[in-house]
Subunit: 352 residues, 2 copies
């Protein structure tokens, strides 16, 4: 268990989530009471990380249902319709958002005609189930992934695929946590991950808070690290994985994967099945979010670039499947992922 939580239900009527924009300086929890507030929190990165975005979106529907539970059926239905719309528009790349909304929509549609107060209760139950399943998936990924971590390993990670990016434990950092829990010694290098600095602010914070040895480096230093020190493995999360195993993840991941290949370092991706999008054949079809130039021209109160400068700020990139040594899921580890091995994973998981 981590000493903090990413998000949870705060009865009777709020989604409570750790405001990640303020980390590591302040641990402040937001209380959000409408779908619009949750969508704002997702858009502005108060909560981020594909699995955490999925859980937040599920609770975004639940909190809206609870807020509107005393409306008549038609008022309730249009409020929910709007909630699905605003949440779906909050961020484009992480597929867990759409996956969670689809699960909530299925419950909502199955309850058409039942009293809003009953529907709200069922939608809240579904959000709880999504969150519980995410924690369980992370713990299973941790068990599977820990076997890939040698004792004494030096590990490089990029961005934050930790407890903060999920409902708990983490995907990439969950693998590391499980290895440590199994008694292995590890040393973690964390790319700072410009522009939003999730590595410097979140990964460094959550690992050091859990007593795991972590060293911060600029994104540009990862290649030099691999060229001059022994790195045993890279492990990262994912925002969307295509049917062929191409991985969309935080900008900079692609370069880390290319450098890992050059230096013979295994490159692992840890992600739950909810991060797979079998409707896209390969990474070219994954929409890449472009974010605001102000993320690149400075940070916080510091503005270091000249005013009015043009900026290229894609939030994600695509790592081709052939650079991925294995994908670690809750259903097991897929080595050398491709369309065939992933189709088999999907079929096995559906019948499990």
């Amino acid at each position: 268990m981590t000493a903090f939580f990413t998000l949870r239900w705060h009865a009777p009527d709020a989604v409570e989530l750790l405001d990640q924009r303020l980390l590591p300086r302040r641990e402040h929890y937001l209380h959000l009471r409408s779908a619009g507030e949750v969508a704002d929190a997702i858009r502005t990165l108060a909560v981020r990380g594909a699995p955490a975005i999925g859980c937040a979106a599920a609770y975004g529907i639940a909190v809206e249902a609870v807020r509107c539970r005393h409306l008549d059926a038609s008022g309730f239905a249009s409020a929910l319709q709007a909630a699905f719309g605003v949440l779906a528009a909050s961020r484009p790349t992480a597929v867990n958002l759409f996956w969670a909304l689809a699960r909530m929509r299925a419950v909502h549609e199955a309850l058409a005609g039942s009293p809003p107060i009953h529907a709200a209760s069922k939608l809240l139950e579904e959000a709880h189930a999504i969150l519980a399943a995410d924690v369980a998936a992370n713990e299973a990924m941790g068990r599977h992934g820990a076997a890939l971590v040698p004792d004494g390993a030096t590990i490089l990670t990029h961005c934050n695929a930790g407890a903060l990016a999920t409902a708990g434990h983490g995907t990439a950092l969950g693998v590391i946590r499980s290895a440590v829990a199994a008694g292995k010694k590890v040393r973690v290098f964390a790319d700072e991950t410009r522009p939003v600095l999730q590595g410097a602010r979140l990964t460094a914070w959550e690992l050091s808070r859990d007593g795991i040895d972590v060293t911060l480096l600029p994104d540009g230093a990862a290649g030099h690290l691999m060229a001059t020190q022994k790195v045993d493995l890279v492990v990262v999360g994912a925002d969307r994985i295509a049917a062929n195993g191409d991985v969309a993840n935080k900008i900079g991941t692609y370069q880390v994967a290319v450098m890992a290949r050059r230096h013979g370092v295994p490159f692992y991706v840890a992600a739950p099945l909810s991060t797979f999008d079998f409707s896209v054949a390969d990474g070219r079809a994954i929409p890449i979010e472009q974010r605001d130039p102000s993320e690149v021209t400075g940070y916080g109160a510091e503005r270091w670039a000249p005013d009015g400068i043009g900026v290229f700020n894609p939030a994600f990139d695509v790592t081709p499947a052939d650079l991925v040594s294995a994908i670690i899921t809750e259903a097991g580890v897929v080595h050398r992922p491709d369309t065939q091995t992933l189709a088999r994973l999907r079929a096995d998981a559906a019948t499990a």
Copy 2:
């Protein structure tokens, strides 16, 4: 001509240099009146960039000689001895520093026994000659390099190898300036270059100030840029080039070179002969400066990493010669640099 200058002599007794720590917010010129002040300016990055560091060090000796010109011969000699020591210790990687100091020392030693006031005047002349030669070298590099830039080119650069990194015109940015002066249209992408942000602060500033189209990107986005848009060439500077063509340059350069190779983009290095160190066989022998953790844990007043976190902060990395398409020097362009082609360049330059 640029609308600013990097450094110059300010008669009768000062080195005047643009404080690059304050750019792009303020154009403030420092007036330094001792070798110690110049060494501090180098160490704290008020002036940076290998050729500019060489010129600053030369003037650092000159300004100390002028300051001490009324001492007796033995006082003058020990002041100069200390000046050589403090300047040589200011930064370890850029070889231009040691090259310039060696030139100054040769003049100093040739004048042993002559009156300090005469020696000071000769040392100042030598510093002027080093600066003038650097500007001429940059302009020659620009002419040679501009031929490698297609009209309409999209160009990626890393760090700042501009007028600000030299006595004027620039190495990598000098090539771009010369291409523009020859009537070519170009579009430049500038890596922001964490941790000190020379790309965001200096390259973006100096190119936009000269009216050249420049777009800023996080270092992690360079691979995605090459994967999704046509980049015609990469051009960077160098801090030290080994006899075999291995290039030490700002941290992150190695990754850019690897990504360029993967995407079939020519990777050019522009550097004067003073940046070559034929005494080191290959890049493994080039000392890599480790800088302060505070450069990585935040910027300016913003501190974003957890307190006390471990940091890996190498200022430079080494790009192996086999990733370098060509090195652009004032004596011509060396394609596919290696020990043989560079030895020939050196021999030709010595007899030119």
